[in-house]
């Protein structure tokens, strides 16, 4: 926690120098975001050390699978607090370089999230090469920017992944067809994550995860109050556990998602449905396919500086052979209240009721969280 604090201080000091936007042709624009998030699990079905990872004390709740941001019975600021700094350097009229550094409460060192070059092929087409976010589901590419959505964090039912960035290339088109705005992109690359924190959910500390041959495409349409988005992606994954080779496995992964958001200014609806299929190519459950459909639906109401948002979500893991691995599911409902302190900052409070039929995993939990979000 102390290391996180000093990292935050260092990044904020950098940001203070760049608080004035720079108006320059060649130039560097610095921006950033900050979320201070605290919470605790007020009650839950599992008590004491969590069977899946005894270093976690339950009642417990995994809010952020990618970074293993987990809440327990004691109030903590570590699981989801984060600060990000982004620098965009305009090199020529068509070429810019972007880098984003993020520090989190769950890690000791800031991570370089992204570092890529953008080349504008024309007003409608651009090409990006370097390290970028995988634009999987609607909120994937800005999952860390608390100011941009009405929950404390996007639903983990859809947004819990072992890999979120990739090294590769993407191409994006933005056009207008009458009153409909269309943007579409295609991307390809690979990713390596050493000591992958997602695997801490299984008590595994030293798993090297590799995603190769990542290929995907997405398209998004906005017309008036309606935004629709569809995405498809595939990858070859491999998991290598330095501590126990018996845990190693590899997969053929495919994922699809569809989202429909409706904004009526006072009222709005956010909905997303997705599924991923992981065919086990090697490992202890080779030959099995895990299919994981997930859905999240929420309705929100804006009243001046206040926004209330009610959300229900469900995740299922369905196996092709119950005698080798069991299927399970979990559901969650939440209520969030957000208050805008200024156009660039807000505070939120959220309660979650998380339920697992059969206590298959982390057990039922009731969670209370508050956050302060800032984008600058």
């Amino acid at each position: 926690m102390m290391q996180f604090k000093s990292t935050v201080v260092r990044l904020l000091w950098l940001a203070a120098f760049a608080a004035q936007p720079v108006l320059a042709e060649p130039g560097v624009e610095i921006s950033g975001f900050l979320s201070v998030v605290g919470g605790k699990v007020t009650s839950g079905s599992i008590q004491g050390p969590w069977p899946s990872n005894p270093e976690v004390t339950c009642p417990c709740y995994i809010a952020d699978y990618a970074n293993f941001g987990t809440y327990g019975p004691d109030f903590s600021l570590s699981p989801e607090s984060r600060v990000g700094l982004q620098a965009v350097a305009t090199l020529t009229d068509q070429l810019s370089a972007t880098a984003q550094l993020t520090a989190r409460g769950t890690e000791n060192t800031p991570q370089l999230q992204w570092a890529y070059l953008t080349y504008a092929l024309s007003p409608n087409w651009n090409f990006q090469a370097g390290r970028q976010r995988i634009p999987l589901y609607f909120y994937s590419s800005f999952q860390d920017v608390g100011m941009a959505y009405p929950w404390i964090s996007p639903p983990p039912e859809l947004y819990g992944w072992e890999a979120t960035n990739y090294n590769g290339a993407s191409v994006r088109n933005r056009t207008t067809l009458g009153e409909t705005y269309v943007t579409a992109s295609a991307f390809a690359g690979s990713e390596r994550v050493t000591d992958n924190r997602f695997q801490l959910a299984y008590g595994q500390k030293h798993v090297h995860v590799q995603w190769d041959n990542i290929i995907g495409a997405d398209v998004e349409l906005t017309r008036g109050w309606l935004t629709l988005r569809a995405v498809a992606m595939r990858a070859d994954t491999s998991f290598v556990d330095r501590d126990d080779a018996a845990n190693d496995y590899s997969e053929d992964l495919t994922a699809y998602g569809l989202s429909a958001n409706m904004d009526f200014n006072e009222w709005f609806i956010l909905s997303e449905v997705a599924t991923n299929r992981r065919l086990q190519k090697s490992g202890s459950t080779a030959g099995i396919t895990y299919t994981s459909p997930a859905v999240s639906v929420g309705v929100g109401r804006r009243m001046g500086a206040w926004t209330a948002f009610l959300n229900v979500a469900r995740y299922q893991s369905i196996t092709s052979n119950e005698s080798v691995a069991a299927s399970f599911e979990f559901q969650r409902s939440s209520l969030t209240v957000k208050y805008e302190l200024s156009p660039g900052s807000a505070i939120k409070a959220q309660i979650d009721h998380y339920r697992e039929p059969g206590d298959a995993y982390a057990g039922t939990a009731n969670v209370v969280r508050i956050s302060y979000d800032r984008a600058f």
Partner: protein
């Protein structure tokens, strides 16, 4: 009349072939949906950074969005690297100066600050 009470004028350079713009067209530029004028010339778009009241009336007038919604909207585009938001200047005087000197610029000011022949008004957002 104070800036908070006056109509807002959206201005371009006098040499810009564009004669007028609708609120929708201005919104498309200021929300990063379109990068050029209809003449296919890249637009250099400037926002206002200091007076939230003027900025709020501007965005409400062109898009119906509150500043909170605008921040959330731009946070998404900015932090996903898709588009960078328009650069912000600290008030009417600097916007006027910039638009006078930049042939492809577009900006907005409270009309109280006198539009003269060195800029061209393409849209007025009435109070």
């Amino acid at each position: 009349m104070s800036p908070a009470q006056a109509d807002i004028a959206v201005i371009v350079h006098p040499a810009n072939p564009v004669q007028s713009l609708t609120a929708r067209q201005v919104a498309e530029l200021y929300l990063g949906r379109v990068r050029t004028f209809e003449t296919s010339q890249y637009a250099v778009i400037v926002d206002q950074g200091h007076d939230d009241r003027v900025r709020e009336r501007f965005f409400k007038g062109i898009s119906g969005m509150s500043l909170g919604q605008v921040t959330a909207y731009w946070a998404r585009l900015k932090f996903t690297g898709q588009v960078q938001p328009p650069q912000a200047l600290p008030g009417d005087a600097s916007v006027l100066e910039f638009v006078r000197n930049t042939p492809s610029a577009i900006g907005y000011i409270s009309q109280a600050n006198a539009v003269d022949a060195r800029v061209k008004t393409v849209l007025v957002l009435k109070k």
